[in-house]
Symmetry: C3
Subunit: 395 residues, 3 copies
Amino acid sequence: MNIHHNIEQLSNIKTDLFGKDFLLTWEKSEASIRMILDVANILKEMRASNISTRLFDSGLAISNFRDNSTRTRFSFASASNLLGLAVQDLDEEKSQIAHGETVRETANMISFMSDFIGIRDDMFLGEGNKYMREVGAALDEGFANGVLPSRPGIVNLQCDMDHPTQSLADLAHLQQQFGSLENLRGKKIVMSWAYSPSYGKPLSVPQGVIALMSRFGMNIELAYPEGYGLIPEIVDIAKSNSAQSGGSLNISHSMEEAMQDADIVYPKSWAPFHIMQQRTALLQKADKQGLKELEQVCLANNAKFKNWEYDASKMKQTKNGDALYLHCLPADISGVSCEAGEVNAAVFEKYRIRTYLEAGYKPYVIAAMMLTNKFSQPAEILNKILERKNLRVGI
Amino acid sequence: MNIHHNIEQLSNIKTDLFGKDFLLTWEKSEASIRMILDVANILKEMRASNISTRLFDSGLAISNFRDNSTRTRFSFASASNLLGLAVQDLDEEKSQIAHGETVRETANMISFMSDFIGIRDDMFLGEGNKYMREVGAALDEGFANGVLPSRPGIVNLQCDMDHPTQSLADLAHLQQQFGSLENLRGKKIVMSWAYSPSYGKPLSVPQGVIALMSRFGMNIELAYPEGYGLIPEIVDIAKSNSAQSGGSLNISHSMEEAMQDADIVYPKSWAPFHIMQQRTALLQKADKQGLKELEQVCLANNAKFKNWEYDASKMKQTKNGDALYLHCLPADISGVSCEAGEVNAAVFEKYRIRTYLEAGYKPYVIAAMMLTNKFSQPAEILNKILERKNLRVGI
Amino acid sequence: MNIHHNIEQLSNIKTDLFGKDFLLTWEKSEASIRMILDVANILKEMRASNISTRLFDSGLAISNFRDNSTRTRFSFASASNLLGLAVQDLDEEKSQIAHGETVRETANMISFMSDFIGIRDDMFLGEGNKYMREVGAALDEGFANGVLPSRPGIVNLQCDMDHPTQSLADLAHLQQQFGSLENLRGKKIVMSWAYSPSYGKPLSVPQGVIALMSRFGMNIELAYPEGYGLIPEIVDIAKSNSAQSGGSLNISHSMEEAMQDADIVYPKSWAPFHIMQQRTALLQKADKQGLKELEQVCLANNAKFKNWEYDASKMKQTKNGDALYLHCLPADISGVSCEAGEVNAAVFEKYRIRTYLEAGYKPYVIAAMMLTNKFSQPAEILNKILERKNLRVGI
């Protein structure tokens, strides 16, 4: 059987996933990244075959969304449910909760019967990932002192630095579209800034994409208008990954030129790093007037780059005029969701269903993170799932 | 055993429920309507006998309430839980989401692991049911293209046209109170407008009631003040149903006269069709001033019909002065929930517990819709439930 | 085995828990109180041993929070999940719903498939507990009339009079810290008012603590500034409990003196009884101006007692300078969560982890209330849990 075979492949792989939070892809070994993809694919196959993959008879998965979300919220809920966990929302005020006592205490108070905490905190540069680590340290302390019967795992559902459940879903999609991770070697992927009528979009998607794709020998073209750079340290990580994996990373400033011979394109808006720094400072001071002024400046600046729309003429420049289009969704589609945006409507339509397929990996990626966090021998537990033969639906 | 016997009765009935959304009762065959009632009653009996009717080991039921709800929300949650599904709310803005891209995309994004989507969208004439069909078409597309592992079923939890979970709960209650559906033949049921101090109540309850009850040979009296008509096309459907089923449908304009010799009465406020049309136009333009003015006009008009209260003298006109009183709840009870309303307090009190019993069918009706959507042989799956002998509570 | 032994101890104890709401600890026999603690401890041990304590294959636990909550909300969700119930929130307006028809009707409408309703209603003196009883009476009526297939149990998650899930968690913690309930006999516990920069904190915690601890032979010192008294009837109950249990209850008005030789201290702010009466009257009239003025008066009055902070010098007065510090959390910690508050930061830090351990009993206390409400023979059902050997996590 196909599933049996796929599980067997996992048997001897050593990873650094068991008992560890999943916060940044670049903290995880390549074996771990591959394990997440493999387990995600096996869980997907199992569900399609009406096999119940329930591993928890009871238990809670806490979701802590410090920014709005529909897609990731449903992905987290789906993954939790797939494994048997009930979701409980932690409904904070959307503002940053004071660090210190409150984080430490709240982390423990919600975790007496929690198996996972999924956190989205992507508004403040320098804060989101730090917050997740504060929560993690508080859970470590609680577990060490007998407050918590087990140490809940943390899943990064998007922070200021990375968006690992997204980038891994993107990678799973590429793996499927190109046949294997090995086939991605030498492929050109363009992570390009694109125009959007909104401002303040997080940097975590482009950062997560270049930091992950650079590990698989791809040639990355990172394109953005001058001044729209990402966090320099993360670009450095991607560069170093590229060097190691035998790929490359080039930065350029013309969408049109960047698209030449691309195999894969990811045109997506984001706010410039230095703007996000200013914005974070203003948000922390709750300076409404300052924020309003910054928004005006930004929108005016963005408007200079309305031609950074991924349209038919740019698509034509790509390999066979048909590079695979990726997006984390929702895209700003010109004439559909906004007047002028990231992508031309007809171009988007051509790849629309494939962007849905791309998104469809996210619940399984999250479930794979959960499974590998709780079970040191994923192959063994997946085999047991097969053996017990529980149906997901029906008797 | 009673349950065994009831299940046997189902064995050979052919319905049009399997794999189909439940959007309008008049799209379903009489066999399907009877199947819903029968399955609902069997599930109710099973739960009362502490038999677990869980059929999903995991899975999500999405609820999308585009208007407030307590009763239907809990009924949907209860039905989902009864079958083993976890509820996940889609918390949109309460305004109409732009049709087109967003509906299509969101429908897929929330459905990667969903088995059902329950939708309430009853504010806009010409919109609610249409929206459900847009969602359905998007799910069809997603399923056909491999985006979704299965096609989630849609349950109409109230739209601008019909409120099938309500009218079927009403019918189940009538079946129980009168002994059988056959006993309803020739009974007079009065669906009457009643005064309320609020305005803009949806038309879906009276429309749903006349369109469904007309299929069982009842004599329907639809009573309302001149100008308070329902959607003409749905009244036509009810008329045609009456003709076919050997019943009748008469429209009149005096509550008092309508009540003569009634076996069943359903006094309930609604907004006139032509007002709902104006209101929809104003809502779509977000014309607050216009809405305020329309409300004033309507309330002033309603006030002319304060005598459309179901009171002791009107009750006296009914068969033996004791027609069965129905209401979808909450009723506007004079002197209790408002100064003057749909029903006199003492009259309501006489039938209060029975309105609760009526409401009590709704969770089972929804569960029956779900079960028959997912299982082509309901009798077979219900028998398996009996055979496996799982307790709902206890070991 | 340890768990086996603990279950055996329960076998022959008669309690008044089965089928009864848990509203006030002083309505329950001592055997019942001990049963709650014992079952809670057994469930805690079982979960730590990865034994699934699931007793419901499906079913709902309704939470009705009429005031904000994080800790208790998560405790209720955890307890429900531990036993296999799904939580469904009843999201009312935060204002008091009109008593009468609505309470009666809503109670039934949400309960067709509910096993428990957890209610927090602590804002209005004379209202919260009354509301819970109104809900209970409505459920009785519904069950008696066949509206409800079973009578959902009510769990008091804090009212105007008592906070039983908190005081029982506190007691479980004391039992663990001192080795047994018997060891608490003769111990001095100080329930002391403490300064807080906020006002209007409920009386239910101090009331719940003195009414419960007085049953175990402890010497209770109730300390507060003149004018900050509790509900007199509840103080009388505590006094009478003390007399019966061989303990004592003394009221005094100096935090410093009260702390002399204390074994246990519980410094916690609350609003004076007579202020809560005025506040309730103003809230019921929705008199915003009056509320604002009352707040000013209160805060000014509180400010006279800033020295009612539990600090190192007061801690020094206690037994060995190391009385066990209790708090229901979150505490107002001077220099951490506020400028000046209930407790000095270094003192709090010394006991911080132990306050987390204290809080950790709450989910198990609630689960024990649920289990003993639904199963007349707790020992028997706990033994069955052991025998079936279901894992909570894993296969």
